[in-house]
């Protein structure tokens, strides 16, 4: 498909400017949402479009919104998750830097739908430029009356704050993120209660990913049916993939859900130096690794699930034939070990032990039993942790041993060919 939905205008430098945005049809959806739809009609529309969360878990967005209790005397909040911490993921940055008003418009419509008068954009600390662009865009929108009291004269009061994080992967987890906004150390909260029932400042809160929210104006502009017609029946719309690693043209590529990896690899100019594909993470390191055997699998929620992996955040990390699986996974394990929030014992201690075993193998002191030991530790972590980070840490380990056990064995026996990569 050549029709992009979200990255349609991001190549135009002036798109950041509200006038250009409006010229390109911007803020019409907001006008339309506020004047033509009741809040619950928008929820219904989004539900019908089949839009699913782009933050990793793929939860149906309309359904999430419908959980917000409407008849309680508490304020409601919307939080736009711009933490983008998953390694290899850089799509949200592209959106906010390239088309900030699209996100703001999406937030405004979504807030209206759930009855929130205040929204927060939680942006990771490293995105200094993004925060600046967003703040400027918000100010412009305020001047034009898209944010503020009684916006567009349609009786809806609404405000957005940009909240900058201070750099921890766990801040992207929705409840830890709420703690962070509240000024606490980010650690996941106990669920239930889910944020929709008791979130920010103990009030009902919806947390959505940037890409998820950016789709909302498009659904209003076009129609739910139009959106549902793109992609596959259960993974509707487009998906922005971030292709990185051993490809010629790393970058973001927006394609309909269900596009096979093969096509995406072609779009990214193929594997570097004419080498062969060895393996890839389809949705960031938190999703199980796949191999060249999976080139034709459609990149959507169901198809990937069927073969034991996940769509995740859409960060495709490509490894060519010379990459060392062990060193790659060891590096990712180090990431999880460092980013574990430290709250629960299996994740905190377990990830550290995983890394120690990898270090031992890399130091050429590994034993054959270490492979099973790695699997055992993963088994112990998986399912016993407080939040999904612990589970995620086991994904690259388990899946890489599944597909590349031989390479592990060879490495330990000192017979591995790509030991230095």
């Amino acid at each position: 498909m050549d029709e992009k939905i979200i990255l349609k205008y991001t190549d135009i430098p002036e798109q950041k400017n509200i006038d250009t945005y409006i010229k390109n049809g911007g803020y019409k959806a907001l006008q339309r949402a506020l004047s033509e739809y009741k809040p619950d009609e928008i929820i219904h529309l989004v539900d019908k479009s089949g839009l699913r969360g782009r933050g990793g878990a793929g939860f149906p967005t309309g359904k999430k919104w419908s959980f917000i209790p409407q008849n309680i005397p508490l304020p409601k909040y919307l939080v736009c998750n711009t933490d983008e911490g998953e390694p290899g993921t850089f799509k949200d940055r592209e959106i906010i830097e390239g088309d900030p008003h699209l996100v703001i418009e999406g937030i405004a419509i979504s807030s209206y739908a759930i009855g929130a008068h205040k929204a927060y954009i939680y942006i990771r600390g490293e995105f200094a430029k993004g925060a600046e662009i967003l703040t400027r865009a918000i100010n412009q929108a305020k001047e034009k009356g898209f944010i503020g009291e009684n916006i567009l004269g349609l009786g809806f009061d609404f405000d957005i704050d940009v909240y900058r994080g201070a750099g921890a992967y766990i801040c992207g987890e929705e409840t830890a993120l709420l703690d962070s906004i509240e000024g606490k150390r980010a650690m996941p909260r106990l669920k239930p209660p889910h944020p929709v029932a008791k979130g920010l400042y103990s009030s009902p809160t919806v947390i959505n990913n940037v890409e998820t929210l950016a789709n909302v104006p498009r659904i209003i502009e076009n129609s739910a049916e139009w959106f549902a017609g793109i992609g596959t029946p259960h993974s509707t719309g487009t998906k922005i993939f971030c292709i990185s690693g051993d490809v010629n043209n790393p970058g973001v590529y927006e394609v309909p859900m269900g596009t096979p990896l093969k096509e995406l690899l072609e779009m990214a100019g193929g594997i570097k130096d004419g080498k062969k594909l060895k393996a890839f993470f389809p949705g960031g390191p938190s999703t199980p690794i796949l191999t060249s055997a999976h080139l034709n699998v459609g990149m959507d929620f169901e198809s990937l699930k069927k073969i034991g992996s996940m769509l995740g955040s859409g960060a495709i990390i490509v490894l060519d034939e010379d990459r060392s699986i062990i060193k790659t996974v060891a590096r990712l394990t180090e990431f999880y070990r460092n980013e574990s929030c430290g709250k629960c014992s299996p994740c905190r201690e377990g990830t550290d032990w995983l890394l120690k075993v990898y270090q031992r193998i890399i130091d050429n002191k590994g034993k054959k039993e270490d492979i099973d030991l790695l699997l055992n530790i993963c088994e112990d972590i998986y399912g016993t942790t407080f939040c999904p980070l612990g589970d995620a840490a086991t994904m690259p380990v388990i899946s890489s041993i599944k597909y590349f056990r031989k390479e592990y064995e060879e490495y330990i026996n000192g017979k591995c060919s790509n030991i230095n990569n």
């Binding site: 574990s340 709250k343 014992s345 299996p346 550290d352 031992r360």
Partner: protein, 901 residues
């Protein structure tokens, strides 16, 4: 709430739908290992040890899983056991393995589970050399009392939770990330540089040896200790404690797990300030002042003979009313009972009183008059769980009764509205829905104003007034002429703010009013209390759980010593000496005739009479009145005038210096007896250690003495006296030794042995029938500022200290926390007088002067000096008393301050 059914290990179990699987298992006595769970704290879910198998869900932590209808739980499959072992292996992987020298051994949950699950050595241990731990151990960071040894920490999170959720100090939290996570205080500095209040509750909840008491270091381990239940000797909260003893020495003190008033928690004093018990300064033998005015050790028998001879002589020469006795709000009920009995039965005078005269006598007088019962209307549990409005006035529980402040803060977090009215901005004011800062000494007019607004706006409770209150018509009439404008001028509080108070107070379902000495210690103290009672009566905020007047007592047995009749105007159980039926009752109970019906002398009246030479003999059982009464210089002259003066105490206090004879007493950890806390709850303390030298329990001394006087007192132990109290005081009739031994901690009235005690007073009716409203005109404080003394001096407490520091001051850590004696002044006054923080200033009044260091705080109003009473404040205070309750006006006198070089 409808119960639901779940199955645990194949057995069907009914439970509340809001319980967790863990709690249901616990109720069923199915043991599930847990490290982070704590019944008094919110769910953490950190350790992941409490795993069980839940059908459809697999292996899951039971403490985070709420029950669902039809849920099937299995608690110990092979997989579950293995999964728990994995967690233990992981936790032990970087644990130091030094149980053999660890202070916590025997009491450590990690050790216990490692034993139970047979984990000798973590399977991950061999990888230790690959560990790049950045954890720095800051075992001793110079903080008093607390050792933090984080090498042993398992990051269960309990310490931070108790500090935040119970204490409200938020001094601890987890810092850093992942495997480098560590509990830190502040920005990872020493604990003493944070908001830590040194309550030690973090130590209490630590499941392993990571947090420990410095005082207990190298003093032995859990199995070597004798554990004895006692009651904290300090404030009126009456925290139940568990005292750990080895070789006749107290090693450490913990809160008793199910302590009714403290639920296991303590404050810095109850937890740590016990070094006085084994102080070398303790009195060990009777001392007689010789001709050279030096004290000489004598034998007990000689001492008792001397007392007998002197008191008999004085009685013969000047009559029984020339002798006076002062009991103690820190001695148990039994000893206060016996003390007043000694004076009434043997000396035959009603000249007996005690230190509560100086703190809450206005409460007793006010509540007795208006409601018929002088006690807290509710329980602390009700305060925490039921009251939906809490008015706190003239009390700073954060420092003076910390356990109660923990509970107030919990209530606020639950959603209760908090109103704070205090001339000094207290810590609770920060948490309040509304804070009112009146000028000191204007309470009567302030509370009348609130009542006026309630009446004007029809917020009063007609039905309640009609059914249960008398004097309303008169009261209404009195209020008609009351001017809100004038009130605004006198109190300095805008009427609008008082209207807000009135609205919050009257719209609550159950509103409690808490107060302490900021209300009582005025020449109009009784009137102040009565205005508070008025408020409760006109609104019907009384006679139901969580509602009503709730005085907070300052010493651990203020309530009890009053109940026991260590009062010049009341026999035990508030029975009046001038009533013939009282005399008849006690003559028959005691087998005595000729009991005096003449009202006796109160504390300050006794000293006044001594000053004038009318009182010749005095017997003080515990109490440093020289320095606790106002106007120390005057007191000294009064004491010098006495012909014969006996002091019975644990230390050679300043008062004791004036005595002719000193008797060494056992302290509360060295004897048995019951204490009645602020919520009227009677709690026993048992003997932990032997008294030093020849010191004896007060009751033993009194019994021996009575026998010297020829009376056959045959109490074999304290509990014989308790039984006599059961007979004398109707509201104590059911609080028998048997029930106390069984663990019952009853609130009076408890009229018979089957009665469950009374958490809520005044339900249905008042003891005097109807509640009495009082019409109270405003009265100014006695000594108003003058050109020569333009400032107002007010006194109060601080957290770490207690009274004149004879007990607290003997623990090193406490000295460190308190530092140099200080007082608080407002920044503007400081600027005016060019006084800097920590600089010295001189406070002077007509009676004396004092030099202290200055703390500058905007919490104090301009032109006011706030002086903690612990620092010898009474050199400055005046002697004028409330004519009804005879309480002195510690809270207000005129003073001058200037920079001292």
């Amino acid at each position: 709430m409808d119960e639901i059914k779940i199955s645990i290990n194949g057995n069907e179990i009914k439970c509340r739908p809001d319980s967790t699987v863990f709690n249901v298992c616990k109720q069923q006595e199915i043991e599930i290992p847990s490290l982070c769970y704590h019944p008094e704290l919110s769910i953490t879910g950190a350790c992941r040890l409490c795993l069980v198998d839940i059908e459809g869900k697999g292996i899951t932590t039971s403490c985070t899983e709420f029950v669902r209808e039809g849920m099937k739980v299995v608690t110990s499959t092979k997989d579950v056991i293995n999964a728990r072992k994995v967690i233990l292996n992981l936790l032990l992987s970087d644990h130091p393995y030094d149980c053999m020298t660890c202070e916590k051994s025997g009491d450590c949950l990690l050790e216990k589970y490692a034993y139970e699950y047979g984990i000798k050595k973590s399977i991950y241990k061999d990888y230790h050399k690959y560990q790049k731990s950045q954890i720095q151990i800051k075992e001793k960071d110079g903080t008093p009392f607390v050792i933090r040894d984080y090498e042993k920490c398992i990051l269960c999170g309990r310490c931070g939770k108790v500090c935040e959720e119970v204490v409200g100090a938020k001094a601890l939290a987890v810092g850093y990330r992942g495997v480098n996570s560590q509990v830190i205080s502040g920005l990872d500095g020493p604990l003493k540089n944070t908001d830590c209040v040194f309550c030690g509750n973090c130590i209490e909840v630590c499941p392993v040896g990571a947090l420990r008491e410095i005082q207990a270091e190298k003093k032995g381990r859990t199995w070597e200790f004798k554990k004895v239940y006692s009651v904290c000797p300090y404030c009126g909260a009456g925290c139940s404690t568990e005292v750990f003893v080895k070789d006749n020495k107290i090693v450490k003190i913990s809160g008793m797990e199910n302590g009714p008033s403290n639920r296991g928690w303590l404050c810095v004093k109850g937890k740590f300030a016990f070094d006085y018990v084994s102080s070398p300064d303790r009195l060990k033998k009777p001392l007689l002042k010789n001709k050279k005015s030096e004290f000489e050790e004598i034998e007990w028998d000689t001492a008792l003979n001397i007392i007998f001879e002197n008191f008999s002589e004085l009685k013969k020469k000047y009559g029984p009313d020339s002798i006076t006795g002062l009991g103690s709000a820190r001695a148990p009920n039994e000893e206060n009972y016996l003390f007043q009995k000694f004076f009434r039965q043997i000396i035959k005078t009603n000249n007996v009183d005690h230190c509560a005269r100086l703190c809450h006598s206005a409460t007793v007088a006010g509540l007795y008059h208006s409601l018929g019962t002088a006690g807290m209307s509710i329980s602390l549990d009700e305060l925490e769980n039921i009251s939906d409005c809490i008015l706190v006035t003239g009390t700073n529980p954060t420092e003076a009764q910390p356990i109660t402040s923990y509970r107030i803060e919990k209530a606020v977090r639950r959603g209760a509205k908090l109103i704070v009215i205090d001339p000094r901005r207290t810590k609770l004011a920060d948490k309040a829905d509304i804070y009112i800062q009146p000028k000191p000494g204007t309470d009567v007019i302030l509370y009348n104003a609130i009542a006026k607004i309630i009446l004007d706006e029809n917020l009063h409770n007609e039905k309640f007034i009609k059914e249960r209150v008398e004097g309303f018509e008169e009261y209404k009439k009195f209020m008609e002429t009351f001017s809100l404008k004038e009130a605004e001028r006198v109190t300095g509080v805008p009427t609008e703010n008082l209207r807000k108070v009135a609205l919050i107070y009257t719209s609550a379902t159950s509103a409690a009013i808490l107060w302490a000495l900021g209300i009582t210690e005025y020449v109009c103290g009784t009137h102040n209390v009565l205005t508070l009672a008025n408020l409760a009566l006109i609104t019907g905020q009384i006679g139901k759980p969580g509602a009503g007047p709730a005085p907070l007592r300052g010493q651990n047995n203020v309530q009890g010593a009053c109940d026991m009749g260590a009062l010049y105007d009341f026999y035990p159980g508030y029975q009046r000496p001038d009533a013939p039926e009282t005399i008849k009752k006690f003559e028959s109970l005691w087998g005595e005739t000729g009991l005096s019906m003449k009202t006796g002398l109160s504390v300050l009246e006794s000293f006044g009479a001594a000053y004038e030479g009318k009182i010749k003999g005095m017997y003080i059982m515990g109490g440093d009145f020289l320095v606790t009464c106002p106007d120390t210089n005057y007191l000294a002259k009064a004491l010098e005038n006495l012909e014969f003066f006996v002091v019975q105490d644990i230390f050679l206090t300043e008062t004791a210096q004036y005595a002719d004879l000193i008797l060494p007493a056992a302290c509360s950890y060295e004897k048995e007896g019951t204490f009645t806390n602020t919520e009227r709850r009677v709690q026993p303390a048992f003997k932990c250690v032997e008294p030093p030298g020849e010191a004896k329990a007060d009751w033993e001394i009194l019994t021996l003495l009575a026998n010297k006087f020829g009376y056959k007192w045959d109490y074999k132990n304290v509990w014989d006296i308790t039984k006599e109290i059961n007979k004398c005081i109707p509201s104590y009739a059911g609080i028998t030794p048997q029930r106390l031994f069984k663990g019952e901690r009853l609130q009076w009235p408890c009229p018979d042995e089957k009665h469950p005690g009374t958490p809520t007073l005044h339900v249905g009716s008042f003891k005097i029938g109807k509640g009495k409203l009082s019409c109270l005109p405003y009265q100014e404080p006695y000594e108003l500022p003058s050109p020569q003394y333009p400032y107002v001096l007010t006194t109060g407490r601080i957290l770490s200290e207690y009274h004149l520091r004879s007990m607290t001051g003997r623990t090193d850590g406490i000295k460190e926390i308190t530092g140099e004696p200080f007082c608080f002044i407002n920044p503007k006054d400081a600027e005016k007088l060019k006084i800097e923080e920590g600089g010295h200033l001189e406070i002077s009044t007509k009676r004396g002067k004092l030099v202290l260091s200055a703390k500058i705080s905007p919490d104090i109003q301009e032109n006011i000096v706030y002086l903690p009473l612990h620092f010898g404040a009474n050199i400055l205070t005046h002697r004028r008393i409330d004519p009804i309750a005879k309480i002195p006006e510690y809270k207000f006198c005129a003073c001058n301050i200037k920079k001292s070089e």
